[in-house]
Symmetry: C2
Subunit: 455 residues, 2 copies
Amino acid sequence: MLDPVLARIDADMPQAIQRLLALLRIPSISTDRVHAPDCEAAADWLVQDLTDMGFQAAKHPTEGRPMVVGKGGDGERHLLFYGHYDVQPVDPLHLWNRPPFLPEVEETSNGPVIRGRGASDDKGQLMTFVEACRAWIAVHHRLPARITLFFEGEEESGSPSLRPFMEANRDLLTADLALICDTDLFDRDTPAITTMLRGLLGEEVTITGPRMDLHSGMYGGAAINPIRVLTRILSSLHDGNGRVTVPGFYDGVPEITPGLRAQWDGLGFDEAGFLRDVGLSVPAGEAGRGVLESIWARPTCEFNGISGGYAGDGFKTVLPSKATAKVSFRLVGQQDPLRIRESFREMVRAMVPADCQVEFHGHGASPASVMSTADPAFEKARAALSEEWPRPAAFTGSGGSIPIAGYFKTILGMDSMLIGYAMDDDLIHSPNEKYDVRSFHKGIRSWARILAALA
Amino acid sequence: MLDPVLARIDADMPQAIQRLLALLRIPSISTDRVHAPDCEAAADWLVQDLTDMGFQAAKHPTEGRPMVVGKGGDGERHLLFYGHYDVQPVDPLHLWNRPPFLPEVEETSNGPVIRGRGASDDKGQLMTFVEACRAWIAVHHRLPARITLFFEGEEESGSPSLRPFMEANRDLLTADLALICDTDLFDRDTPAITTMLRGLLGEEVTITGPRMDLHSGMYGGAAINPIRVLTRILSSLHDGNGRVTVPGFYDGVPEITPGLRAQWDGLGFDEAGFLRDVGLSVPAGEAGRGVLESIWARPTCEFNGISGGYAGDGFKTVLPSKATAKVSFRLVGQQDPLRIRESFREMVRAMVPADCQVEFHGHGASPASVMSTADPAFEKARAALSEEWPRPAAFTGSGGSIPIAGYFKTILGMDSMLIGYAMDDDLIHSPNEKYDVRSFHKGIRSWARILAALA
């Protein structure tokens, strides 16, 4: 069943590239109202392409850019595929070596690339799945499973319509499993299925001491300094081993399984190189944990911002009234963001002296997304990917949050498989964005294999 | 000798007020070039007034506003009196209840006041001494001592010409003792001679971790966070008793003498009220030290500003490259600012992890000014003041620095007696500035008494 599909994909590559170039020529920038008609045009292009292939496809209006939903195939297994057709703005335009919406295949020392805005993020990635479906239909005149294609046009502007649309269209969208193509390969030769995404709890803490700014000569030594209070609180949030001291913080934090650890060890991750790229050499996480484990599987407490008093040039002898810090916690496993928020606030309150007030402002509280890799679909997909690429695929984590995976879980009750073929040098969001023709080609083949494996 | 002078002062009050009003009508704002001719006019007015009284007086040009120097009297004892004829800007003008340069005597519930810009700071205070000299000359046809009057016109704009002028005119200005009239009464009934001024050492500390801002999801748990490093450093600078932990910091910090402590206890300082005015209730200095002692006679370490990462509205999951704090030390006694700077920097360097860099930027380093109150002039002046006012005068400290006193000491080798009659409700630098007629009247009588005592 699979081999003729892969052969068809190889033979059809020139046409597949022409189709992607056509989609890339539509300047569907979602953040700029001027480009709203272009977003409509990109959605229309997709609806037409899906319809031509035999999908029941339609554009669904929202308060912002439209959603595209296409339905095809049948059978027990129902898979939903997600991608986004909107792209980032192109400023600064003068740094592009070609017009961003006149894409072309360019030869480079790393092989041919498709250069243009959206080539990698996310039109190229989105089309890998569409082309896999096309090849399957061309060869077998049917799809290997029941498939729902779901494309949004607001991912680059915060997806304001996504949750309301999901909530209003549960029946349309709910499937057994979501496939999301918006991530990177682990490295050039190693594909990845992201199965753990850290959650995020944001807290803003403001300490108020005197009710106005004071002169540090007149009051220094008499009046409490809120920066002193705040720095004492923040400095108590990690112990000497880099562990977070908020009571109960590690409740629900699992150790990674030996199997997963073996996969990660097998990745040959270059810790030193990863740190060297940002000017560092010493891992700063919990003592005894490697970098990959620290960013994928361990929770953190980070200080994202601090301010108080005079921060301009020169010096001002002010004893400030207020000091503020923005603190975020990355969460893993079953950590409960709301319980941690309460425990954090209680700990801080206990450290605030009688003369100071503390105010808290919450900025989001989302738990980690942990996919049920016990579902055989995950191992099947991993085996399929491992067939296509030089090195075996791994289940990986992601230090950051990918909101769409959380929405699929909380709103539609679906786990997600995040599989993507982008490279970290694709310059997404930057001038001269590109997508390797190799990523596109092997990406299409990867989806064809995964569809065969999951069907 | 003294009584007829005091009687003459009382009788001449209406004329003395008219003279002050005339000087106040000259809008000698030093920060605004437009008013440069007004500053010349104020200097000319003073030269004329001093000359009329028999002083050898002249205006001395500088690169900015002119200095006025007047010389009169003779004898062993040589006293220099300092004041400034320039005034603060008047914005916002609409908050004044009368034109700021059309001053008048107003009746208030606390007695008559002279209302207008500069009434208290510093023309009214300056004229207390001039009027004391005038009365002495009128009654005895001579001054009781050799007197140099020294008025500058740039005090409200940072005194840029003061040090060069002093350095170029040591012979003209050097006397046995400087008298400075630019400070407050301790309270309505208690005069003060400020004999201790804290010094100031300013340090800016910048910690750099990664060489660029990072995403806290991608790098949180792997890359060192400079805010975390900085807050740990700052939180280590005070121990649990509020003492500064910089090694050697307390070298040269004297305990106040039992005599001085008795004077301060006698002031009946309202600690609770002082703190309540700024919204506080608990003294925040070293354990076991009162507020007055803490701000006048104890050194401090204060955090005047802190910044790093994202400080705007909302949240940004940045792991910043840099974090900065502005730290200042108020110094007393014989504390050596340069040794403390070195010790502080060494302590900080030792706390910076291998992966971070630290940069220091110094912002001034001036030692405390401590007057030699063993000079009998100080006790004589204190006794003279105590005769004039309802309550005995005290030697007090000042938490802030008053640069002129430091310059007299370092450039001209003179101690200073800082004696002033301003009230803390005089609204200096603000709309509706005033000087109590009582301050003006008793101020003139005070100087007459002090001159008699010191002669």
